[in-house]
């Protein structure tokens, strides 16, 4: 399988704090990779680096063969034609209609005829079950509809790479299941390579070809759904069984944090 995404030895910091610690990851062409982990595990930071929004301390990130840690602005712009992102909160422009929001990437990256762009955007609204609602403003949509509109915008250019941040967060189980089905269809029909960041176990197990489990900035395990379920790693099992962390406490360090000493 050809790698659509190749991360090698990625180290990142926020200030002096180590966030990602020598992370390595490959996502194959046409593969759905789910990145899982608890809060503070580094999964959102990893996503931001995959999108080229942050510069790492060291390491390389190749998207479709292009190393984005060294890519020029022009190279990144060209690469973004092949990338779609659906952010957790939707990130739609509130002053534009849903249709205008979905058409934005086409206006930014193509010189297609206006009618062609409008048909493409309306088709993608049909795909996400928002057909005929393009005239609405984002403020007139429910949480689930905003997620779907954001997904329509993310896929309007038929990207080779689709990144999806917390597709199920805040959604009822039915809408969440529909989004999962849609992600599977996108892989199968459009041959997209898809990275989904989530902490929803049910969703992860349903859609993943493989799962990467992050914990404290390190990859605990990358494997198939069965491999993750059957892992003997205690932290993986804690995450799967929603058990709280049983960490050793360094009394001196803890007191220093509390007293500011």
């Amino acid at each position: 399988m050809t790698a659509a995404i190749e991360v090698r030895d990625l180290v990142t910091h926020y200030g002096s704090r180590l966030i990602l610690d020598h992370v390595a990851l490959e996502v194959g062409s046409g593969e759905i990779m789910v990145i899982m982990g608890g809060s503070g595990s580094g999964k959102s930071t990893l996503l931001r680096h995959l999108l080229g929004l942050n510069r790492p301390t060291s390491g390389s990130i190749k998207l479709l063969g292009q190393d984005i840690t060294t890519a020029s602005a022009a190279e990144m712009h060209a690469l973004r034609r092949n990338m779609g992102v659906s952010f957790q909160g939707g990130a739609l422009f509130g002053s534009m209609s849903v249709l205008e929001n979905v058409m934005l990437p086409l206006r930014e990256h193509t010189e297609l005829d206006e009618q062609t762009m409008a048909i493409m955007a309306r088709m993608k609204l049909e795909v996400v079950s928002l057909g005929g609602l393009g005239h609405l403003l984002p403020s007139q949509l429910s949480g689930g509809m905003i997620k779907r509109a954001a997904l329509a915008r993310a896929i309007v250019m038929d990207p080779k790479l689709l990144f999806f941040d917390e597709p199920s967060a805040g959604l009822d189980p039915v809408v969440s299941a529909e989004l999962d089905e849609l992600i599977l269809k996108l892989r199968d029909s459009m041959r997209m390579s898809i990275v989904v960041v989530t902490h929803e176990l049910d969703s992860a197990f349903k859609i993943a070809d493989r799962i990467t489990v992050l914990d404290h900035g390190r990859i605990l395990l990358t494997g198939t759904v069965a491999e993750v379920r059957n892992s003997s790693n205690q932290r993986v099992q804690d995450l799967l069984n929603r058990r709280p962390r049983q960490e050793e406490i360094d009394a001196d360090a803890y007191l220093r944090r509390l007293t500011g000493g």
């Binding site: 193509t110 009618q115 062609t116 493409m120 088709m123 993608k124 038929d158 996108l186 029909s189 459009m190």
Partner: protein, 110 residues
């Protein structure tokens, strides 16, 4: 992508081949709309299409809508599995008249 147009059994048949994507779908659109603007019943043959993206499908949609406005016959023939998957995603397989071959289309025309 490459294309050719041939006349057969009262139809202009636009045969597309290769990848129909953002870089060439405007040409496919122009060809389909030109055929319809000449008042010709038009079929688009997709049997040699290895990939078609949304911009290509949008050209087919616009062609179909234009044909309906002009009361001309329009349809797709030889839709490859790759193209069918893209059409199915937007449920357009239930919208376009789709036939395996020209002969099948002619039979359906009666």
């Amino acid at each position: 992508m490459s294309y050719q147009v041939q006349q057969e059994s009262g139809y202009a048949i636009v045969c597309l081949s290769g990848d129909v994507d953002l870089s060439c779908s405007p040409e496919a659109r122009k060809t389909i709309l030109a055929s319809l603007s000449r008042g010709q019943h038009t079929l688009v043959d997709l049997s040699a299409v290895s990939y078609i993206d949304s911009s290509g499908v949008a050209s087919l949609v616009e062609g179909f809508q234009t044909a309906r406005r002009k009361s001309l016959r329009f349809g797709l023939i030889g839709v490859s599995a790759a193209a069918l998957g893209v059409l199915e995603l937007a449920r357009l397989d239930k919208v376009f008249p789709i036939h395996a071959t020209l002969a099948a289309r002619l039979e359906a025309d009666g």
